[in-house]
């Protein structure tokens, strides 16, 4: 049984981010792959899991989530091999520093050599990123400008929207997939959902046809036109 842990949906889950766990669990279930989804709320401790999901949130909750994770076993579990999908505020929290409430710099968890400052304007709208030849589609809504240091790879190149800085979106490390696309990103991008599911379970997964394929084709067509 693979455990997927949704971290603080009561703080980070503003933009339908709960849909990512739903898509992972359902795509696993249909293939007979055992997946257990657990939600960790504000007063819970962080359990052992193969994959942690972090969503987007507002400034105050984002700061609190960073503090709670700093005081938990989360960082050591990721360093020991657990994987993370981090969206929006989650992407910022895993870096070295991020900005909240104006330009106040706040310490991140340091799991990636990444710094987020306050962008000149808010990035709101559809986001499409080219990831290893495949299009990743979603919607972004954030005020950050994220810079990658020390050879950290981006997740992909922005085709539409802003992402980190107008050119690149998110980042990819051995244990982290990070993107500014909510959407939620795994529900809208079946291939990305399966890539993560495969990466976490170590299984080679057969294709799985569903209506999400039609949605993905439609959004890809709209966003790349």
């Amino acid at each position: 049984m693979t455990t997927i842990c949704v971290l603080y949906p009561d703080l980070l889950g503003t933009y339908g981010d709960g849909g990512n766990a739903l898509a992972l669990a359902e795509r696993a279930r249909r293939r007979g792959v055992g997946v257990d989804v657990v939600e960790v709320r504000l007063n819970d401790s962080v359990p052992d899991a193969s994959l942690y999901l972090l969503g987007g949130g507002e400034d105050g909750p984002q700061r609190l989530a960073a503090d709670l994770l700093r005081g938990s076993s989360f960082v050591s579990r990721v360093q020991d091999g657990a994987k993370v999908l981090a969206v929006c505020a989650g992407l910022q929290i895993l870096g070295l520093t991020f900005c909240v409430e104006g330009d106040d710099e706040y310490e991140g968890l340091g799991l990636a050599d990444v710094v987020t400052s306050r962008g000149e304007r808010r990035s709101v709208g559809e986001l499409a990123t080219r990831v290893n030849g495949q299009l990743l589609v979603g919607f972004e809504n954030h005020g950050g400008r994220t810079t990658l240091h020390g050879g950290v790879d981006s997740l992909g190149a922005v085709v539409k929207g802003r992402g980190n800085d107008g050119t690149l979106d998110g980042y990819r490390t051995k244990s982290i997939w990070a993107t500014y696309a909510h959407g939620p990103v795994l529900a809208m991008n079946p291939w990305f959902c399966d890539e993560i599911l495969s990466g976490v379970t170590g299984l080679e997964l057969d294709p799985l046809a569903s209506v999400a394929d039609r949605l993905y084709q439609e959004r890809s067509r709209v966003l790349s036109s």
């Binding site: 703080l11 503003t14 400034d59 919607f139």
Partner: protein, 366 residues
């Protein structure tokens, strides 16, 4: 419309104004205030709830009694321009995040505007079960607190004052920082409605627990300007639909009940009203400007409530809806061509978000 604030101020001067705001229930509650007040009431019934719409409504009708619904973001301006006798604050939850961005930020703006407002006679009628509303209204000395059922708490799990966890036990709630549900509630809605110690006969013609809450807020506002409660309740009870909402409509041989739901809390509330004996449900979702361009809220709404129904997916974003339902293990059919919709027995509930609702209201007949 830059000149609107001054224009609204001059048009509103000397009139008795009630403002209504909140994420859900603005239009219905405003309609209830209009009906309950009785006689001619100036109002923005079509939902044009920003200064231009307010100015148009105030020009169109000369009645001294004014009930206006106000877009959440415009409350600070409207307080200053209309100088209301009563402001009704219903609830705050995630809605059209691509435009409004952050719901806690709205609560902060309401709070600052109410703190700064210099009219001590202003009566704020506020929902004591919504922590974000309480945060906005708690600084006023004469806030009237209403204890009305409020099911959507997903945006108030973290304290608006200190961000720690709010504990909700039954209808009570509190945070360790001391922020808590106000003790001095004077409107209480349970099986019966009590306003200021008086039992009010509430027998609505419209469905839904949320409409009972809206009516309780409307009647509390009217009580605040000394309208007779018994008379007002009788008139509110007689309302059957509000600008097409909850109305029975006909379209190509189908009989539909039109239900408007614009955001997760609205869908949650509306899905709870669906008849269990009707299998077919039509749901229409768009993501145009007035809806918000971002349909990610579909994953914040508990569509699992539709398990056991067959859902026909309509609207511009029917594939987003269908994908949401599919992941939620709800039986669905994507309708690319309306002529393929099967005729159902009896009345089919049609849930639609804002522009989809307008489309269906326009294409159907009474």
């Amino acid at each position: 419309m830059k000149i609107a604030p001054d224009l609204v101020a001059s048009l509103a001067r000397g009139r008795t104004v009630i403002l209504v705001s909140g994420t859900n229930g603005k239009t219905t509650t405003t309609s209830m205030i209009v009906a309950g007040w009785g006689g001619a009431v100036t109002t923005n019934e079509t939902g044009a709830n920003m200064p231009a719409g307010h100015a148009a409504a105030l020009v169109e009708s000369k009645s001294d009694h004014v009930a206006l619904e106000v877009d959440e973001a415009w409350i600070p301006d409207s307080l200053v321009s209309t100088r209301p006798r009563v402001v009704v604050l219903l609830n705050l939850s995630r809605d059209q995040m691509d435009r409004a961005n952050e719901v806690r930020h709205l609560a902060e703006r309401w709070r600052k505007a109410l703190e700064a407002h210099d009219d001590d006679d202003l009566v704020v009628v506020a929902n004591a079960n919504d922590p974000l509303v309480v945060y906005a209204a708690e600084s006023r000395a004469n806030t009237v607190w209403a204890d009305v059922p409020t099911s959507w708490l997903a945006d108030a799990l973290s304290c608006p004052k200190c961000t720690l966890a709010i504990s909700h036990v039954g209808s009570a709630w509190h945070c360790t920082c001391g922020f808590a549900k106000p003790a001095e509630v004077t409107t209480i809605l349970g099986d019966e409605l009590i306003i200021d110690g008086v039992s009010v006969d509430l027998e609505l013609s419209m469905p839904g627990e949320f409409n009972r809450s809206n009516a309780a807020m409307a009647l509390t506002a009217l009580h605040g300007i000394d309208v007779d409660l018994e008379e007002a309740a009788r008139r509110v009870n007689a309302i059957h639909s509000v600008v097409g909402r909850f109305s029975i409509r006909r379209w190509k041989g189908h009989v539909l009940r039109l239900l408007l739901a614009k955001n997760p809390s609205g869908f949650a509330a509306m899905m709870a009203t669906l008849p269990e004996d009707q299998s077919d449900v039509w749901v229409a979702v768009n993501a145009r400007l007035a809806d918000g361009h971002d349909p990610s809220w579909l994953y914040d709404a508990p569509f699992e409530l539709l398990r056991g129904h067959r859902v026909y997916c309509l609207g511009d974003r029917r594939l987003d809806l269908a994908t949401r339902l599919d992941y939620g293990q709800v039986d669905f059919v994507v309708i690319d061509d309306d002529s393929t919709l099967p005729t159902s027995k009896g009345t089919v509930p049609l849930l639609a978000n804002y522009t989809a609702f307008s489309d269906w209201l326009a294409r159907s007949e009474p």
